[in-house]
């Protein structure tokens, strides 16, 4: 009798469950779909970002150059024939460029035509010639075919970023367009690797603007950051993990570290401005100060990563060393630290990668000026790679948009290399106990 009742009840439950089952499975499916969709959305953001940067930027690695046969006229460069450096460096190389262009286009006789003609070539072409002559004074008196950078507008026209039509924003007259076409068809105007992007400092002329100054600035900052934050970070981690006992003081240190890890980086910039520049009178815009600020930014990352790495070393290694009569420091230096080193290095590289991409604190300490010269020491005014991106992004010229994207590609490549190194280290040396 009771068995019957039970069976009835069970089947009633089953029925009720079944009635809702389809709906529940639909919910299940929908939930799963949301999850997948979120990942797809997030990754497509990444794809769009990378695509838009690369599609904008890849063209900047090539740029238009013009082949001219330049006569290195001694009467222009060195009328006395003394070959003195000062004379050579202050000569009127623009005249050489003008003469070479005139030789190419003898039809440009009136002033307007000449002005239009000279507008086709970069304003920095004379500097290129000067560099050649300074490097090799024996060029004087000879005539050479020289590739010189074309004006940025010519470059943009050839890349299709500017219309030929003056009504649609084109900047060229019919006469200029004719010249450009003539140069193009005679093979004297073509796209060549943009060496300025990688060898020169910033410039107002997009065709001459380069990242090298910013790269060197970033390098110096990073050098300062590494030399300070690595020993400080590792020493802090060793103290907290291996020497200290848990007390109020170490709790205070821990709270500080965890909090500093989450403080907005611009606050470190304010600290740098006030303490390093205003109190200690360190030079403004210098990579040294930038490096100091970035040290504070990256220190918590390194400390936290180093502590994790030290914690992962099993305690019996420590017991074994101490049991043999090693002192605590010997135990750390001979056994624990070497075993934790891959993890510490991985964390350090990741911290450095973050510092390389960091720009807000650098704005605060003035590494945001227009600086043409490549810094020769960590005390010279300089920018950094991400700040250069920020500066170029603010420039209105179309040619700078392209270069900004190219600079981003370069920065991302640096970061990719650093992170790949970190991953490699982790994979290669990771030890499971």
């Amino acid at each position: 009798m009771t068995e019957m009742v039970d069976q009835v009840r069970v089947s009633a439950t089953a029925e009720k469950v079944n009635a809702r089952l389809q709906r529940r499975y639909a919910v299940e499916k929908r939930f799963r779909f949301y999850g997948i969709a979120s990942i797809v959305v997030a990754l497509s953001f990444l794809a769009i970002l990378l695509f838009s940067i690369i599609s904008q930027g890849h063209t900047a690695f090539m740029q238009a150059e013009m082949r001219l046969s330049v006569t290195f006229d001694p009467s222009v460069i060195d009328p006395d024939g003394g070959r003195q450096k000062a004379v050579l460096s202050s000569a009127d190389y623009t005249a050489l460029v003008r003469n070479a262009l005139l030789a190419r286009f003898p039809e440009a006789e009136d002033r307007l035509a000449r002005r239009e003609m000279i507008a086709l070539i970069s304003q920095g072409a004379d500097l290129e010639l000067r560099k050649m002559v300074m490097g090799d004074p024996s060029l004087i008196g000879t005539t050479r075919d020289v590739w010189l950078p074309a004006a940025a507008s010519v470059d943009q026209l050839r890349k299709g970023h500017m219309s030929r039509d003056a009504d649609k924003g084109g900047q060229f007259t019919q006469r200029q367009l004719g010249w450009i076409d003539a140069l193009e068809s005679s093979g004297n105007l073509s796209s060549r690797f943009n060496k300025w992007l990688f060898t020169s400092g910033d410039s107002r002329q997009p065709e001459l603007a380069g990242l090298w100054g910013a790269v060197v600035g970033s390098f110096y900052s990073l050098l300062v950051t590494v030399t300070l934050s690595f020993p400080l970070g590792v020493a802090t981690a060793i103290y907290l993990e291996e020497f200290s006992t848990r007390n109020r003081w170490t709790d205070l240190i821990e709270v500080n570290i965890n909090n500093l890890a989450a403080v907005p980086s611009i606050v470190f910039g304010l600290l740098g401005l006030e303490i390093f520049l205003n109190v200690f009178n360190l030079p403004r815009s210098a990579p040294l100060v930038g490096g100091l600020a970035l040290t504070l930014v990256s220190l918590p990352t390194i400390i936290i990563a180093s502590r994790v790495a030290l914690k992962a070393v099993p305690p019996w290694i420590r017991e074994a060393a101490l049991g043999l009569g090693a002192s605590r420091l010997q135990m750390v230096m001979h056994h624990v630290l070497p075993l934790a080193m891959p993890g510490i290095l991985t964390g350090t590289i990741i911290g450095m990668a973050r510092a390389v991409g960091e720009s807000a604190p650098l704005l605060m300490i003035g590494m945001v000026a227009f600086i043409v010269d490549v810094p020769a020491s960590p005390l010279d005014p300089s920018t950094a790679l991400p700040v250069q991106i920020y500066l170029w992004a603010a420039s209105p010229e179309r040619a700078f948009v392209e270069r900004t994207s190219a600079a981003i590609i370069v920065l991302l490549c640096f970061l990719a290399v650093m992170n790949a190194t970190a991953i490699f280290l982790r994979k290669k040396f990771e030890r499971r106990w």
Binding site: I317, R318, E319, A320, L324
Partner: protein, 269 residues
């Protein structure tokens, strides 16, 4: 304090058979509020194996770790009373704990070779204590330590391979070789066979018996058969107290205390 040379140790060791090497008087250990060891007094004689037995948590390992001050490493641990090594207070402020641990070596429950080569494992102690003047010296110490640990024949062709690649029993004998490479006077062993299979255990036990000739050995074990096999004297701990201490034979055949009798006949434990 210089570390006594081996020859001296062997001579003096033989001469001092039967005399006290380590003496504990009224030793108490507290972990925070917990009273882990209660007024233990114990004499450990030179060139004997002293076994510490008792149920888990009875304080035998705690006592062992007092002897080379490994308890210093545990936060909140406090030791009172007097422990002397050859008459010197080992908790004396002026005593260098590093030197103490060079004189009193230790072998742990789980074999714990460093993740380095077999050679470097054994050479580590002599290196940090400056026991070898030349690399030839060092090699001699390593080889003789491995020989005395009965491991040399098995590993002589692969001294540069990692010690972690050995079998469990070999690893434990490597750890013993590593401990004797420092020429300690006393070797503490904390359940050295608990992670080993019976064959490896037998080898280690044989080794312990041989080492007795040159060293004073204190061994913690929870195997009563092991205590009976390897030790000359046995101390029985229970709930932090030393219940009974005497010749092994007497403890196992004619225990004076009810508690001891209960434990060795397996009524509790």
């Amino acid at each position: 304090m210089p570390i006594a040379s081996e020859a001296f140790l062997q001579q003096s060791g033989r001469a001092m058979t039967g005399t006290s090497k380590v003496t504990a008087k009224d030793v108490n250990v507290y972990y925070g509020d917990k009273h882990a060891l209660k007024a233990v007094s114990l004499d450990i004689r030179a060139n004997e194996v002293t076994a510490l037995i008792g149920p888990s948590g009875c304080g035998k390992s705690t006592f062992l770790r007092c002897l080379n001050r490994m308890n210093d490493l545990i936060e909140g641990a406090r030791v009172t009373g007097l422990i002397t090594l050859d008459g010197d207070d080992i908790y004396d402020y002026s005593l260098d704990v590093v030197q103490l641990r060079a004189r009193i070596g230790m072998v742990f429950q789980k074999p714990n070779p460093f993740p380095k080569s077999i050679f470097d494992n054994v050479a580590y102690g002599p290196r940090i204590h400056g026991l070898a003047q030349s690399s030839a010296d060092l090699e001699e110490i390593v080889v003789s330590s491995l020989q005395r640990a009965g491991l040399y024949e098995e590993v002589k062709d692969r001294l540069s391979e990692p010690g972690t690649g050995l079998s469990g029993g070999q690893q434990q004998r490597l750890c013993i070789a590593r401990a004797i490479a420092v020429s300690p006077e006393v070797i503490l062993m904390d359940e050295p066979c608990s992670a080993l299979d019976p064959i490896a255990t037998a080898k280690v036990e044989e080794l312990i018996d041989e080492l007795r000739e040159n060293y004073t050995i204190v061994i913690v074990t929870h195997s009563m058969q092991q205590a009976a096999r390897v030790s000359q004297r046995t101390a029985f701990f229970h709930l932090g107290e030393l219940v009974e201490f005497g010749d092994t034979e007497q403890i196992f055949t004619n225990p004076q205390q009810k508690l001891t009798q209960g434990y060795i006949t397996g009524r509790f434990g």
